[in-house]
């Protein structure tokens, strides 16, 4: 029997039991839609993280204590500001080494107040991360050396505290007391990991250390002169630090490595989500199998007749398999439309990221066809194997 003919016969069979076909498809529609939506969310999350990490700037090596694994508890740093000079001698360019000591505090200006990420930084941080200024100046070496109480505001903080007015030269208070003079405002850069970088305020690291009563820095960030210089830089820095702090481990990672690790985690997460959604697809497939078995029983006489007229086992098998695949791919197509629509709506209307890739609908279609074959094969084989004499006699 020709392909076109079995297609027509299958379509007719579905049309005859229109309501039943639609209800059976429904399971597949929901399953496929769920897969498409969840894959879109997983992909969207990964894209978001990737673009944010890339936004950190290129060729930057982050140096932190401990082994770098995602999700492990951070090790308290024993690194201090002296390490900038120490590593500067190792790498030969002290100006390319930034430090950061992070905290979060409430900041105030007059009546206005907001919560800000306090970044204790040295004068190099702006260049290492390539953060342009909108107004005034950045922290200077003198600010750091003399522990000045000066601050550079992120653009959001500036807006929340001062509105449209120019904050340079004004005063803010941090953590309910210490007063800082605003010397500059950073240009807007957007978010990293859902935290807005524009909600930061940068103060001299020495001032921050005194304010928090510590003498450590959380991490160092070193800009390599070229991409090719990165691996050597990583090795040198870790080696130098482990020589200095005997018995401790350090890691120096790039954003590419960070990206890889986070990508792996999010990829696994996407996989898990898709697998959960696939279970509903499986349930849909069982429904298809069930209805096909009912169909084979109902049409036993027809099968007997077709065999009497010359249909071979494989003709009958192909007819029913075609019917099952048609059922699941029609359902799959509807599911793809529904899932894609839902993903686009989510991306548009909610903060959840969702990205529809070209391959996920294609994959969903292939999977729904495969579901049809897989769950259609048992009923179709049963149909194909019917004894024509017995089938013709069936009621």
């Amino acid at each position: 029997m020709r392909f076109a003919e079995s297609f027509r016969v299958a379509l007719d069979a579905l049309r005859v039991n229109r309501l039943r076909s639609v209800l059976t498809m429904f399971g597949v529609v929901v399953g496929v839609a769920a897969v498409v939506v969840l894959v879109a969310i997983g992909t969207g999350a990964r894209d978001l993280v990737r673009s944010e990490i890339e936004g950190l700037g290129s060729n930057i090596v982050f140096v932190a204590p401990g082994e770098f694994t995602l999700g492990s508890a951070p090790t308290i740093s024993r690194m201090t500001l002296d390490d900038v000079t120490y590593l500067g001698r190792v790498t030969g360019d002290e100006d390319a080494i930034a430090v950061a000591l992070n905290s979060g505090e409430t900041v105030r200006a007059g009546r206005a107040e907001t919560f800000a990420g306090i970044v204790g930084a040295n004068q190099n941080l702006r260049n290492v991360f390539d953060r342009p200024l909108r107004r005034g100046r950045y922290l200077s070496e003198a600010d750091v050396e003399t522990r000045r109480r000066v601050v550079v505001l992120g653009s959001d903080v500036a807006r929340r505290l001062f509105g449209d007015a120019d904050p340079v030269g004004r005063q803010i208070s941090v953590a309910g007391g210490t007063r800082f003079r605003v010397v500059g405002v950073l240009a807007e850069v957007g978010q990293t990991f859902g935290q807005t970088r524009d909600g930061e305020v940068h103060v001299p690291v020495t001032t921050a250390q005194r304010m928090f009563g510590v003498d450590r820095v959380d991490y160092l960030a070193i800009r390599a002169p070229t991409k090719d210089a990165v691996p050597r830089l990583q090795a040198e820095v870790v080696d130098a630090l482990e020589r200095k702090y005997r018995g401790e481990r350090f890691s120096a990672i790039t954003q590419t490595q960070l990206l890889g690790t986070i990508g792996t985690v999010l990829g696994a997460l996407t996989g898990v989500l898709a697998a959960i959604a696939a279970i509903s697809l499986l349930v849909g497939g069982v429904g298809v199998s069930n209805i096909m078995l009912v169909g084979v029983r109902e049409r036993t006489r027809e099968i007997g007749l077709r065999k009497a007229l010359g249909a071979r086992q494989r003709d009958v098998l192909a007819q029913f398999l075609m019917e099952a695949v048609l059922l699941t791919t029609l359902g799959g197509t509807a599911g793809i439309a529904l899932g894609t629509g839902a993903a686009l709506a989510i991306a548009e209307l909610s903060p959840v990221p969702a990205a529809v890739t070209w391959w996920s609908p294609a994959l969903a279609f292939a999977v729904s066809a495969a579901v049809g074959v897989f769950f259609g094969v048992v009923p179709a084989r049963r149909a194909g194997r019917l004894d024509p004499v017995i089938a013709l006699r069936a009621e």
Binding site: E302, G310, D315
Partner: protein, 237 residues
């Protein structure tokens, strides 16, 4: 003598039911020549349908030899058997066995589908076959829109569409009133005469059986008698 259209040599058919063997045919030998018109008679349960299924390759004998057009079916695969049915045998059933939601034309064309014939050719041949049974004006009708006699004529057109050597009809008039039954017999006779198709029909009705040129009686799975009308008529064709 030419090769027979169908030939059964000492065939038996035993069904196994819940461990008990039921033998429906005990060694029947029957030879059907091309262009013959044979009626098979016998009481209910005597094995008539079983024999028809064997002759039509829908079933295989438990023992004995079955030849279709001189070819032993014993060594053939199921698929080869299906192709043989499609090419050489036409079936007509008591209950018509038409597809309910399918037009008369597409019902008739069904055997051609399994030959891989093009749609155009199927339509042309189905229309011809329907014209041959006097239903040229009923192409688009569905079985439910046709009378019993018309439905059986559609079924006969379907049996003929593939140009088989033999038409096997199991009680083709069983569901029809006497007059319509005789109309169907007129048709079968005409096809036998004009096209030389051999016809084997099972019937309970003596006056239907009288119209065949040969009558085979079965009883308890055995052939009881095999009577022919005067031989001259046979060689005519």
């Amino acid at each position: 003598m030419s090769t027979p259209a169908l030939e059964a040599v000492d065939v038996t058919r035993t069904y196994r039911m819940e461990g008990v063997d039921v033998t429906a045919l005990h060694g029947v030998s029957l030879r059907i020549d091309e262009g013959e018109f044979v009626a098979i008679l016998g009481p209910s349960g005597s094995g008539k349908s079983t024999l028809m299924h064997l002759l039509g390759c829908l079933d295989r004998p438990t023992t004995g030899v079955l030849r279709i057009g001189g070819r032993d079916v014993a060594g053939l695969s199921d698929a080869a058997l299906a192709e043989l049915r499609n090419a050489r045998v036409g079936f007509v059933f008591q209950s018509f066995h038409l597809l309910a939601r399918t037009s008369a034309r597409d019902n008739v064309a069904l055997p051609l589908v399994y030959r891989g014939a093009s749609r155009k050719e199927r339509h042309r041949r189905a229309a011809d076959a329907l014209a041959a049974v006097g239903l040229a004006h009923r192409l688009a009708h569905r079985p439910g829109q046709l009378s019993g006699g018309e439905q059986q004529r559609v079924a006969i057109a379907r049996a003929l569409v593939g140009d088989p050597g033999v038409v096997l009809a199991d009680e083709p008039t069983g569901n029809l009133d006497t007059r319509t039954g005789h109309d169907v017999m007129d048709l079968l006779e005409r096809l036998n005469r004009d096209r030389g198709v051999a016809i084997v029909l099972v019937t309970h009705e003596p006056d239907i059986a009288e119209r065949a040129r040969r009558r085979v009686h079965l009883r308890d799975g055995r052939m009881e008698s095999d009577e022919r009308d005067d031989p001259p008529e046979r060689g005519e064709r």
